[in-house]
Subunit: 179 residues, 2 copies
Amino acid sequence: MNYCSHCGAPVSVKIPEGDERPRHVCERCDTIHYQNPKIVAGVLPTWKDQILFCRRAIEPRKGLWTLPAGFMENNETVAEAACRETYEEAHARLAGVELYTVISLPHISQVYMLYRGELDDGSYSPGIESLETRLFDIDTIPWGELAFKTIEKTLQCFVEDRKSGTFPVHNLTITPAKK
Amino acid sequence: MNYCSHCGAPVSVKIPEGDERPRHVCERCDTIHYQNPKIVAGVLPTWKDQILFCRRAIEPRKGLWTLPAGFMENNETVAEAACRETYEEAHARLAGVELYTVISLPHISQVYMLYRGELDDGSYSPGIESLETRLFDIDTIPWGELAFKTIEKTLQCFVEDRKSGTFPVHNLTITPAKK
């Protein structure tokens, strides 16, 4: 951020009075430009004993498998965002969704919120951001070709919870692997 | 938003190619300025059979009772944000926290994420944004003087769940009351 989005003057970085963190501040119109984490909403879509995956048509991680998910927009609920992404990326509608994993990624200021949901009628096809959409059995999940750690973690929870048949919400944190 | 925060040129509102929503777009440097919902993180702090409340020293809803909560910052986890807010507003530390309510407010593009947590040693005192901090028994919760619907809803869940002793995560939506 270089300029004030309100008045157009150059911004400076300083700690505002009464605050404890450096912010982008406009010295002309006094606007403080806060920056906050973004929510990525998505779904682990199931159909009977299978899971629906999308193969990414776009960077990052083009060609790898993921679950439908994307940035939540203003003026929607988290569940609406998750269902919208599922339709956009896999042309699939869900009979209903239940919150499943909430994963903080503090190093990139994102919070993933992934739901579980059964497909409405079993139909699906690739959206513009997917090369391919495919149902996988639990024991053929493409573990070595997953696009994101958040997706891998959510699938690990699902495989484990399936044994007991109870699916509590998991609140987790992922940080970069130590080098 | 009037100006591009990257290059300082005036922005226009239009639907970028391949998108479906109007965005603030800079026609000089081609930056698309996305706007996304914000997370409000907080805690329902307990101490034995009581709940710790804060009376707000600032607008909105100055003078009314709330639970410690505030905007999540970049580079922290949701739980860290919730604990930080509890320390800032009530000078209270928590022995541990469990995610409890996730509440979408689509009309103001916010998502509340409130935890349950037992105070570490029972000590607390008002932070700069609180006029007063006080432990209330369940049957003296100041229902008529609560600052926010999200807080009221979370307390309703808590009072109800306390009967069974099980506290699942509740994923809810609050929309404005119809006039």
